[in-house]
Assembly symmetry: C2
Homo-oligomer: 213 residues x 2
Amino acid sequence: MNAPEAPDTTAVPRGRPRDAAVGRKVVETVLRLIADGATFGDLTMEGIARAAGVGKATVYRRWNGKDALLLDVLAAVDCFEPPPRFTAGSFRDHLLTAVEAIRRRGLAKRESAMLRTMLGQMQNSPELWKAYHDTVIAKRRAALARLLEHGMAIGAVRPELGADMELLIDFVTGTMLSRTTFRQGASLDEGISERVVDLILNGIAPSAGPAEP
Amino acid sequence: MNAPEAPDTTAVPRGRPRDAAVGRKVVETVLRLIADGATFGDLTMEGIARAAGVGKATVYRRWNGKDALLLDVLAAVDCFEPPPRFTAGSFRDHLLTAVEAIRRRGLAKRESAMLRTMLGQMQNSPELWKAYHDTVIAKRRAALARLLEHGMAIGAVRPELGADMELLIDFVTGTMLSRTTFRQGASLDEGISERVVDLILNGIAPSAGPAEP
DNA sequence: CATTTACGATACGGGGCCGTCTCGTATCGT
DNA sequence: ACGATACGAGACGGCCCCGTATCGTAAATG
């Protein structure tokens, strides 16, 4: 008896299998178009297929529409980012690593363009924003939260700040994120991360302790 | 720009004068559409005219195209923002006023939506971004620079930080700006500005030297 | 009054994208 | 070999927008 609703997952494909390289090529093309300045409104299924050198029907065979395609594109964004390692070194070194990661992402055209484009769409398509947030942003913030809690545990961070970890993360990331996202063309030379870390640790007020005059 | 060869300012217009209310209505409509989530790519001259209840030819009579119209729209953004007053109070109070201004702008749908939309377009249309930067952003940063220099003069801000005023401004604005722009839905209750100011002034490290647990 | 320009509405040809469909060819399992 | 499916290419009707032009009406000058 050959039940048509066969529960086994190996639903034998019958004809020519889909070429996985085609799907990758389309996603890569969309990432390139966004990096080149296209907003989601600028992207068209027809234009994507043309830019990818792919038949339009092939794109529609894989994705129902632009939103479904963009969801897969978002999932591919963070595939290239190894999670930062906080193994050895002082808390200040770890903090510097985190800030440096933001700086380098700001220099990466694809990452920063994607973030800016997503920001413009977060009101329009909250599902897309949620996907970007969950797959890209949340992971980074979680890693930073672990770092900051470690800092509080070893006394490098004022413990009362743990009451609002989200705000603490905004504070640690905000300076470099503003610089890379809002201020296109702002200097992003290497030494800047050091100064940002100094500001994050010590603030702008003169230190009351027996430090530098 | 409708003065062919009349050097005197009283170039007598001959027919029915343009209704200034129509121009205002169009600009206001575009601002509303952007606040409702439209990106620049979503906006069309035809749709704008329809939403404004205005003839399409009337829009084209005033602006050559979408870019020219958007330039005027940008110029209208900051018309509603009174410049902040730094008259009395401590430096901390002034800083709180500045941070509070960012928080309130983040709550204003029109302002934050415009900023997010502009970010997505800054690569695509640098002229538009320059206009937005010059008419909106530069003024706020200049006011903040004056505040920070005042703070250094009275000893409330470490003077060596004046070496990179742009970075200093990024640091002061970055936390609240990140929260209002990147993190839609994040809490923006009133007390938060106080905590941000504390972080800006004192940083995250314990102030009384290296405390050993 | 006549003239001139603005206004809202709408019609016009042109062009791009939509989503589907049909080709001819290619590549799989049977 | 054969059927089934994927592939690139492109045709197709439909829709929306572009920028201009043409209505009839309204409001200013002379």
